[in-house]
């Protein structure tokens, strides 16, 4: 491949694109950009046919790779550092710095005697957060941008072999990568002596087996090596001793997809977006009680309010915003007071949460914060690798207590034990999964302590979630006797004449909530039960 040839392909492909007209391929969750979005990572998604490398080239694809091959690896690292690009996988470690460490480690060690690759570049596509699908969108919609980003990163750090580690649950992403790789190899954009510059780099796909923890880089490396994925303590860091004991850089899909753009448009362009310490854009998967759920990409530093209300269209059903859960199962729940905080890596951590991979779940007044914490703990406990006791056993004890509390069996002592557990799990666990597992509990306890106390003291779930810990009452001064609730009630336990105040026969009510949802006039309220029901069978 030469630059002339690449330009020729670009010219031809532009022609095809022009003839076809800009289009947006139907792609499930990914919608055309909304006002306020800035698409860098998702720039090509839906715009090009991901199974045709020519269309990627038409969008300046692989020109960045050609460009950086005329720079030294050190220059590539410096440029990346200058752009301020930080890892999009959650921790926000500066990408250039990561490559620098790997390159440094590589320089201090002899090459493997048997001709094996001296260093590895791994693309982490093990997107495990429930509800997060930004990596999937990129891998499915623009696989070549990830491959090009990998090649640039590999050149910078000194890797000759790359792996894309992608979840088995993403068959389309796998298929598109499997299509993309031979295309890139055929054009000499992967393989030996790329652009005749003496740079060798090839990529293979490794498919994960469905473990959340394999998103942790050391566990991911174990998994690629063919073992059960389990994190191990660092140091040694993968940059020093990673895959097969060689210097390795593990970068997230979104991070890598940013890289070609940085070299096409310049570090200054990239650094021009975002906040002082968090540059560029970030994708978010908005879910929950928000009108426009889905995938968005916005500049760093945008506020949660802008995301939820301006882009997201506000809360469903005119309900009250209660909290936003960011950062996935290891992130935290932030209440309304954080709505105007600019979102970047530091501010989210300061608030007790995480950027994570960009999950954002909007919760309203009908979400019980204890139950939300229990839900995430159920996930984390299930996904704990089972290696260190604070995690595999500590999260189990946390889950048991939270389950007890949501079943009206909690005690005040349980709240103390929760605090004791969360403090120690976060300091004593081996990896970020264990350390972060407590965040949903810590943040809900910090911001919604009253809900916890109501659960254990009054056996009352004011959100109307925890079964047996509330009932519905019809407010006599609001009810206009429309009869909607009476018609909806499956057990016919609501009595009331037309235009007269209705009443629920509490003794026979099954607390299904159909009346509550049916009432258009907010005349049905969630109230504590006079005698809390306990020892109910497990719900769900």
């Amino acid at each position: 491949m030469t630059i002339e040839e690449l330009e020729r392909i670009r010219t031809e492909a532009r022609q095809i694109l022009a003839e076809r007209g800009e289009r947006f391929l139907p792609d499930g969750e990914l919608k055309p950009p909304r006002p306020g979005e800035v698409r860098v990572v998702l720039r090509n998604c839906g715009q090009i046919d991901p199974k045709r490398i020519e269309e990627y080239i038409a969008k300046e694809g692989y020109f960045a790779l050609h460009k950086i091959l005329n720079m030294t690896p050190e220059q590539v690292i410096d440029e990346t550092k200058r752009s301020g690009l930080r890892g999009r996988g959650g921790a926000g470690f500066p990408a250039g710095q990561k490559w620098f460490f790997a390159r440094q480690a590589l320089a201090s060690r002899p090459a493997p005697a048997d001709g094996a690759p001296p260093a590895y570049l791994i693309c982490n596509g093990d997107e495990g957060d429930p509800g997060a699908f930004m990596d999937r969108a990129v891998l499915e919609g623009d696989p070549h941008s990830v491959l090009e980003g990998m090649a640039i990163a590999a050149y910078a750090m000194g890797a000759t072999q790359g792996y894309v580690y992608v979840r088995a649950e993403y068959p389309v992403a796998v298929e598109h990568l499997q299509t993309a790789l031979p295309q890139a190899r055929r054009l000499g954009l992967l393989g030996k002596n790329i652009f005749g510059k003496g740079f060798d780099f090839d990529v293979d796909i490794r498919i994960g087996a469905g473990a959340f923890v394999c998103g942790e880089e050391t566990a991911l490396i174990d998994s690629i090596e063919g073992r059960r994925g389990e994190p191990r303590p660092r140091p040694p860091f993968p940059a020093v001793s990673g895959l097969w004991g060689r210097p390795t850089s593990v970068n997230n899909v979104e991070t890598l997809a940013n890289v070609p753009q940085i070299f096409l448009k310049g570090a200054d362009w990239f650094a021009g977006m975002g906040t002082e310490k968090s540059k560029g854009t970030k994708t978010f998967a908005i879910a929950g009680k928000v009108k426009n759920a889905g995938l968005i990409e916005v500049p760093m530093g945008i506020t949660m309010r802008e995301i939820i209300y301006d882009i997201g269209g506000g809360i469903l059903n005119k309900k009250e915003f209660k909290a936003a859960q960011t950062g996935g199962p290891l992130g935290g729940c932030l209440p309304a007071k954080y709505l105007d905080t600019p979102i970047d890596f530091e501010s989210l951590v300061a608030a007790g949460s995480l950027m994570g991979s960009g999950g954002l779940i909007v919760l309203d007044e009908n979400d019980c914060m204890v139950d939300v914490a229990r839900f995430f703990m159920d996930f984390t406990q299930d996904e704990s690798c089972g290696k260190c006791p604070p995690c595999w056993l500590g999260t189990k004890r946390l889950l048991e207590i939270l389950t007890r509390i949501t079943r009206a069996e909690g005690t005040e002592k349980d709240l103390e034990t929760l605090e004791y557990l969360t403090q120690n799990i976060s300091t004593a666990s081996l990896c970020a999964l264990g350390q972060g597992s407590v965040n949903p509990v810590v943040t809900t306890m910090r911001h919604f302590r009253d809900e916890y106390e109501a659960h254990v003291r009054d056996k009352f779930c004011s959100s109307g979630v925890c079964k047996g810990m509330f009932h519905y009452e019809i407010l006599a001064d609001t009810c206009n006797g429309c009869g909607a609730c009476r018609l909806k009630c499956p057990d016919k336990v609501i009595k009331g004449a037309k235009k007269a105040v209705h009443e629920i026969d509490q003794a026979n009510c099954i607390v299904c909530g159909d009346c509550y949802k049916a009432c258009k006039f907010a005349a049905i309220a969630i109230r504590p039960r006079p005698t809390p029901k306990s020892k109910l069978p497990e719900c769900g």
Binding site: A211, V213, R228, S384, P389, T417, N424, A428
Partner: protein, 364 residues
Amino acid sequence: MTILAINGKKIEAAGGTILDVARANGIHIPTLCHHAALAPQGACRLCLVEVKGMRVLQPACTYPISEGMDVQTDSPKVRTARKFVLELLLSDHPKDCMTCETCGHCELQDLIYEYGVKETPFVGDRHLFPPDERDPFILRDMEKCIRCRRCIRACDEIQAVNALTMMNRGFRAKVATAFDTRMQDSNCIFCGQCVSVCPTGALTEKDSHGKGRDWQTTKVATTCPYCGVGCNFDLNVRDGKVVKVTSAWNAPANKGALCVKGRFGWQFLHHPDRLTTPLMKTSFWKEIKGTEGAPSPYKGFVETDWDTALDAAAGRLSAVRSADGPDALAILTSAKCTNEENYLMQKLARKEIGTNNIDHCARL
């Protein structure tokens, strides 16, 4: 040399982990998943220490020392974390030390004692696996398993067999063979390395159960009687009987490793078939004594005493030598016997009988 501070004390060390350096300097750091014969993995979190500048506690067993490092090994924060881990482990452990085979040399028991964990604050599910007695030699009582993975690592790192692995995740994570079969249906070779490294009573020598706790046995270091590798091990003896074989980790040839015969093949020692008295063929006895003789369990043989047997043997061997010359006699000595015995045997052949007709089964 690297200079660092542990508990405020300045220490110089060439390298290694915090645990290595602390132990070399007489500073106690508790461990549970660590084993000198295995690569450290930092899993159990008992060796957590405070490293100045680090946000979370760090495992001493994997953390390399560096210049100017400031480490606290016994601070309140560290002790709290360790006690917390022990409380968690205790919450999923049967409290049956009274009947446990491993009582007295259980590393969990020692740490629970050291950290004064009287009761666990955690109430919840406990694993209730019934003891797995389906396999020979190895009894797996998995409710005593603390998931330290020493067994898995020994099977991997020492034996390169990999019969054991973790299966499932979270609270359901457990040590198992592939597809959770009996060990004899896996690729297990019953070397018992897993048993030798287990810190609790989860893996024990089945044939030794009830025969003596660690403190009730005497350990005698010796050399294996089977193949030519020359493994060393300790015979555990109680009341004049061998009850168990345990690993000798400093053994030059085997470094603690053993095979199924070495570790578990000692029962023949006390087998009722052992010969306990000299025997003479009944016809031979009648020929020289003229009586019926004392019956033996072996058809055609009578029991006798040493003097009678040795006198008769010596007399008859001498007679053959006198009649047919020394080379009409032949001796088979034994590759199973000691050097000293082999030396004596060839001395007997060459000096007392006068023949070089001596050989043994080296060629077989």
